[in-house]
Symmetry: C2
Subunit: 413 residues, 2 copies
C-alpha cells in the first residue's frame, strides 16, 4: 500500500523551491533533457514497444501511443521551444502606492503543485514536465496504464537530468497507473493546487465528480459555424471544409453548420467539398429537402445536435435569422469555439459580442483555437470553463499571483 499522502506532502514541500531555480538553469535543464531523449531514443522506443504489444493495433489509441525516433525528435524540438519562452514568473501585474504610503505590487507566482490525469499519450509526460519546470510548479502525473512502460522510461530520463542539476525529483511524481492513485490525487486538497484532466469526456466527467481539489476542465468542443444570409459563399465553403476536415479528431473541429434559410439553394455547392472528403452529413428537415440525394447525406435526428463527432461527420441546422443561430449555439455549444461567416458588420458584431465561448470567430476557420496558433508558445490544454483560464492554456495560465506589500510601520486605524 503506497502512502500517497506522504508522497504528496514531499512534492508540496519540494515544490516551494522550484520558483527559485532561475530561468537560465531551467533552459539548460530542458536543453539537456531534449538531447538526452534523442540519444536515449532506442531505450524509449524499446519500452514503448512493451506498451504497444499489449494494445490492439486497431485501437484508435495505438497511434497516439506510438513513439518513433522522428516523433521523439519532434518532442525534443518542442521542449527546446518551451525552454526559450520568457519566464512567466515574478512578472508585475499591478503596482500602486496607497495614500498611507504602502507600496503594493501584484506579481505572478507558480500555482504550486499541478496534477495531470491523462490517457495513453506518452508525449504529454515530456510536454507537461517542461511547462511545469518553466513555470516553477511541482507536478503529479497520473498517466494511463496503457502507456505505463513508456511513462516510466520517460520519467527515468527526467530524473537523471534533475539529479544532475540537483533539483529535488520528489517535486515531480509519476503515480502508479491505477484508480487508487487517481482517487488519492483527486482528494489531496492540502497538497495539490489544481488538477487538469486531459483526455476523453468520460475521464473529465469522472474527475469532476470525484475531485475535491480545484479542476480546470479542458477539451470538449461542440463547435458551430453560422453561415449568414450575407455570407461570402467562397469564404464560407473554404472555412467549413477546413474546420471540419483538417483534423476531425481535435476539439476545435466543426460539428454543426448553421445555415441561413435564404442560402438553402446554395447549400449543395457549399458542402460539395465536404462530400468529396467523404464527410457524412446529418441535415435537418429543410436542409435535407434542399439537397440532392446522396448516400453520405441523411436526415438528422435530435441526437446529432450538441454532439462532438471527432470524426468526418457533420450536422446541419437551418435557421431563419441570427437570433435563431444565437439561440441554437447557446443551447448546444460547449463554449469552446464558435464562428460566423457574414459580410454584414452589424451581425458580425452581435455574434462576436453575444456568443459565450472561449473563442468567437468572424470569417475564419475555428481550427486556430490552439496555444501555438494564438502565439502563446505552448499549450497544456484548452479550458472550456470560465474560472482562471479560458481557451488555450500556456505558461501564464500555470501561474497565480500574490500581493507584495512594503511598508514602514503602517497600521490601520
Amino acid at each position: 500500500m503506497i502512502d500517497f499522502t506522504s508522497l504528496f506532502q514531499a512534492a508540496k514541500k519540494s515544490s516551494r523551491k522550484l520558483a527559485f531555480i532561475g530561468d537560465e538553469q531551467v533552459q539548460k535543464i530542458l536543453f539537456e533533457l531534449a538531447d538526452l531523449m534523442i540519444s536515449q531514443g532506442d531505450f524509449l522506443i524499446r519500452e514503448n514497444k512493451r506498451d504497444l504489444e499489449r494494445m490492439d493495433k486497431a485501437n484508435p489509441m495505438y497511434d497516439r501511443l506510438l513513439l518513433t525516433q522522428e516523433r521523439i525528435e519532434g518532442i525534443a524540438q518542442e521542449m527546446r521551444q518551451v525552454a526559450k519562452l520568457p519566464s512567466p514568473l515574478f512578472l508585475p501585474l499591478e503596482e500602486k502606492v496607497l495614500p498611507n504610503g504602502l507600496f503594493l505590487e501584484k506579481i505572478t507566482v507558480p500555482l504550486g503543485v499541478i496534477g495531470i490525469i491523462y490517457e495513453a499519450r506518452p508525449n504529454v509526460t515530456f510536454d507537461v514536465f517542461s511547462l511545469a519546470l518553466k513555470s516553477g510548479n511541482g507536478l503529479i502525473l497520473k498517466g494511463g496504464s496503457d502507456a505505463d512502460f513508456s511513462n516510466r522510461a520517460i520519467i527515468s530520463l527526467i530524473y537523471q537530468i534533475l539529479q544532475k542539476f540537483e533539483i529535488p525529483t520528489d517535486a515531480y511524481l509519476l503515480l502508479p497507473a491505477d484508480r487508487t492513485a487517481t482517487k488519492a490525487l483527486l482528494e489531496a486538497v492540502d497538497e495539490v493546487d489544481v488538477i487538469i484532466p486531459r483526455g476523453s469526456q468520460g475521464l473529465i466527467n469522472y474527475v469532476r465528480q470525484h475531485a475535491k481539489v480545484p479542476v480546470i476542465e479542458t477539451g470538449a468542443g461542440i463547435v458551430h459555424t453560422f453561415v449568414d444570409e450575407e455570407a461570402d459563399l467562397e469564404k464560407a465553403k473554404a472555412i467549413i471544409h477546413n474546420s471540419k476536415t483538417r483534423r476531425p479528431s481535435v476539439c476545435n473541429s466543426l460539428d454543426c453548420l448553421l445555415i441561413h434559410e435564404k442560402l438553402l439553394p446554395n447549400l449543395g455547392e457549399l458542402i460539395r467539398p465536404l462530400l468529396e472528403s467523404k464527410v457524412k452529413i446529418y441535415a435537418d428537415e429543410k436542409a435535407f429537402a434542399s439537397l440532392p440525394k446522396n448516400e453520405l447525406i441523411q436526415e438528422a435526428s435530435e441526437e446529432h445536435f450538441g454532439t462532438e463527432f471527432l470524426s468526418l461527420q457533420l450536422a446541419i441546422k437551418t435557421v431563419r435569422n441570427l437570433d435563431e443561430a444565437l439561440e441554437h449555439i447557446a443551447t448546444y455549444s460547449s463554449r469552446h469555439s464558435e464562428a460566423i461567416v457574414s459580410e454584414n458588420q452589424e451581425n458580425l458584431s452581435r455574434f462576436l459580442l453575444e456568443v459565450d465561448a472561449a473563442a468567437v470567430y468572424a470569417n475564419s476557420s475555428t481550427a486556430f483555437t490552439d496555444g501555438a496558433q494564438f502565439g502563446l508558445g505552448a499549450e497544456i490544454g484548452i479550458s472550456t470553463q470560465k474560472l482562471h483560464a479560458r481557451g488555450p492554456m500556456a505558461l501564464k495560465e500555470l501561474t497565480s499571483y500574490k500581493w507584495v506589500v512594503r511598508g514602514n510601520g503602517q497600521i490601520r486605524t
Copy 2:
C-alpha cells in the same frame, strides 16, 4: 417540491442578457435601489425584527444580523460607490495580429451565473447584488435561515427596481433557506459557473466536499507576523497590537507571533500593549520562560499553532532564524496574509519572495488585506486559493474573458 433545475436554467438563460444592460443604466438602477432601501427602511427593519426575535441575543451572530436605519444608510452608501466604479466588462486584455492577418482580441466578459452561500448577514444580499449587476452576472443566493425574513424583504426591493427597469428578475434568485436548495446549487454544473461560500470554516468545508460546480474558497486566515532580529521594536509593537486588536473577528487579524530568539529579552515590552488590551497569550516554552508571570499568559500547546482565533487570543513561537520562521509559516499558514518586521533588506526580500500567501507584508500591519484598502473599490470575499483570484476579490475577479478573432476567410493549413 421546487424544481430547482428549471429555476437555474431560467437564471442561466436570462443572465446572457445582463452584460448588455449598459453601465449607465446599471448606475441608475443601483442609485434608485439605494434610495429605495432608505425610504423602505421601516419595512426592512420590521422584517429584520422577525429574524431577530428567533435568535438568542447572546448569539455572536445577533449583531451581524441586526439592521438599523443607520446601517441601511451605510449599505446604500456602499451601493452608490459600487455604482460609480468603472465597468469591468469588455475591457481589452490583449491584442495581436497573427502572421496570417487574423486579428485577436482578448476581452473581459461576465462569469455567467454566480452562486453565493452565506450565513446570517443580510447586508451581503445587497452587496453581492450590486457587484453582480455591475459585472453582468446572474446571481443565485442561498442565505442562512436565520436571516430569511430579512433576505426576502431585501430581494423584494431589488425585484421592484429590476421590474421598473425591465431587467429579468429570474436572473437573480434567492433560494429557500434549507439544505435541499444548497445541494441543488452545488450540483448545478450546467447552469452555475462558480460558487463562492462566505462564512465559517464549517460552511466552506461543506461546500468543498459537495460541490460539483467550481468553487472559490474565501476567508480562512491563519495569520503570522515574524519579528526578526533586526526589527525596529517600536514599529513591531504597533504592528502586532494593530493586527491583533483592531478587529479580532476578521480574517486578516494576527494569530501567531514569531519572535527571533535574540529578541526574547524584549518580548515583555513588545506584548505589553496586547496585555493592556486583554489579549490572552499562548507562548511556547522559550517565550513563556522569558516572560514575567501574568494571568493572561499561559504555555502554548500544539493546538495553538495553526489556529484561527478570531478573538483576543495569540500564539507566540520562538524561532532561531528566518529559515525557521519560513518553515513554520509554510506548515501552519492558511496562505492569507503574512508579515515580517525587519530592517534587514535581505531578510525582507527573502520573506516577501518565499512566503506563499495571498498578501505578504514587510513592516506593516496585516489589517490592510481588504478590497477597499487595496483600492479595488469593493469586495465579494478574500480568496485563499490560487486559481482565478487570490486575495481580495472585487469586480474584475467576477469576470472571465473570451478571445474575439476577426478574419477575412482564413483557413489553417
